[in-house]
Symmetry: C2
Subunit: 109 residues, 2 copies
């Protein structure tokens, strides 16, 4: 699979092979750039349960993709944007609820 870029044959027990088929080299390249191949292999083999490999590689791909799009902030940039969005919505909700209780009190008069 993606071992092509390392100019070596892919071994059958390669942990990365199922996740980076030959077709998807762009995705592999951004992961390689951010984490390095040996780091990814180590994360997948040491850090997580076999059943969680799938979710782990997906989250690594998401992080690498975010860093590719935004080299400075990466996925932290997405987190900041979402936190601002949450704060804005919470504020709007407070205002809406205040208006609601005001209207309810008006109706009761």
């Amino acid at each position: 699979a993606a071992c092509k870029f390392q100019r070596r044959r892919c071994s059958p027990e390669c942990v990365l092979a199922p996740y980076f088929p030959v077709e998807n080299t762009a995705c592999f390249m951004s992961c390689k750039r951010l984490f390095g191949v040996s780091n990814m292999v180590r994360i997948l083999t040491e850090g997580v349960q076999p059943a969680q490999k799938d979710d782990t590689i997906k989250s690594l791909i998401l992080e690498a993709d975010a860093r590719q799009r935004d080299p400075v902030y990466g996925s932290a940039g997405i987190i900041t944007t979402l936190r601002e969005e949450v704060a804005k919505l919470q504020e709007e909700l407070v205002v809406a609820k205040e208006q609601l209780s005001f209207l309810v009190s008006q109706l009761h008069q």
Copy 2:
């Protein structure tokens, strides 16, 4: 600074030194584990403008910290949680606005 862990002297031009003082080894270790030292140096020297180094390293530290706390989902896990939070708040806001327009129509009658 953090070069201590690589058992070599820290050179004055080390790009990582300002961000990883000797006191903060835990932070350095989680960054090292996720990205690797050479990868971090490359990201800081090649990928971004000098003025953006500060924000870049902060976002890398945030990502490494998130991966440390959650080895499977890392910062992608935070993004998922925040997206769910945003969706929930948007839904609540829609309901509140519906109630508002209903009450307004009642008041007008």
